[in-house]
Subunit: 218 residues, 2 copies
Amino acid sequence: MTELLETRTQSASGSCERVNAQLRTARTPILARMLQTGSSVSTRESIHSAAAQLFRSRGYSRTTVRQIAAEAGTDPALVIRHFKSKELLFLETMHLTLDDEPLLDVPLDRLGEGLAELLLDLGGSARGVFLALVHGSNEPHIHDRLRDTHEHLFVEPLRRRLTGPDADVRARMAAAVAGGLLYALWVAGDQGLLRMNRGELVSRYGTLLQDVLAPRTS
Amino acid sequence: MTELLETRTQSASGSCERVNAQLRTARTPILARMLQTGSSVSTRESIHSAAAQLFRSRGYSRTTVRQIAAEAGTDPALVIRHFKSKELLFLETMHLTLDDEPLLDVPLDRLGEGLAELLLDLGGSARGVFLALVHGSNEPHIHDRLRDTHEHLFVEPLRRRLTGPDADVRARMAAAVAGGLLYALWVAGDQGLLRMNRGELVSRYGTLLQDVLAPRTS
DNA sequence: GAAGTTCGGTCAACAATGTTGACTCCAGCT
DNA sequence: AGCTGGAGTCAACATTGTTGACCGAACTTC
């Protein structure tokens, strides 16, 4: 019964990295063992990538250590042995970074538009990591991670481009607006915004963010 | 006598569906139960309020059915028997509402400021419910609840005050900005914003929201 | 008034979860 | 050869949400 469930789950989530990982651990044990510490590195790697994929797609509470172990082709106990706990494994796998060059390259009077484009092109794995962090941030350590992420993903790059006594406040407000867009789209799932065409959303949010970053003196 | 009991229950709970459910279940024996054991209705009530408090303060995943039962002075099995599951109990207890009269009373050119004041005065139980919904929205039904809440807590009251072809878009963007403020303060925990004095935050966010709701034609 | 039904309450159990400890196995060093 | 240390396996633990069996009291029906 359990095997049936596991194979079903595995075949349902067919992934190239998973097959490779399994081949690495299962098919070439001799070769792997010959290299230094043996299959330790590669199983650790398998666990890491399996956990990253599962946490991203199913969130923290809905992915189980046994699922991770099955996906990585190993034992639940080994998952805990390598990374001390499920939470530490989560923290080690869920990092949200984005290149801030696009934000630093664009001229200052187009910073809002650049940020809007950046946010609305953000998708795929970034969405999964962001949602996993937000949903999991009931746990104190995950909350800390989300705070740090917000700080050095949004606030710091923006503040670096601004000047004046209230640069910090403007950067934080723009970061809040940026986070609010991701919140509305991904967390709350505002269908009205989701159905808008990208161009108009970029334009409207671009000018909005621009006004926050460099307010017009009316 | 029955009416008296019912009104008491209603005023204590404050939810239409719940009252109907109680009327359905507690049809006949309600009077005698109150006089004799006094347990049936009041246990349900105890479970409800204990669950509400625990969900608000500790979130969905960190509060356990056994904790709720202990707090209500009853048995874990009874918690499930009254409300079909932990998730349904959560959905029945976690309602986020706010009086929208303050938003409807204020003149249109002060709507942004009014909303900003409303948001920044929001605290206490509203914070707990909001965070519980956001954190728990990994679960599909809780996600639906959060979407509905966002829609008829922010979007609808704002759109009702706006006119023009893009009223819906402006309302949704303002709602996203509002949600972004709560996200930055409560979910991400932006220390810079948290440490700002309330007056300046109200002022800055007031004009920001006002610009979104009724953009200045520059 | 007696029998039956219903419903709240209690207890024990279940499967699934994260985690730990005992044990095996094998490479590399002394 | 013998020892050490680390990777892997297996069985167990406590805790979680949830269910089923039983109990007792009260309302309904005869």
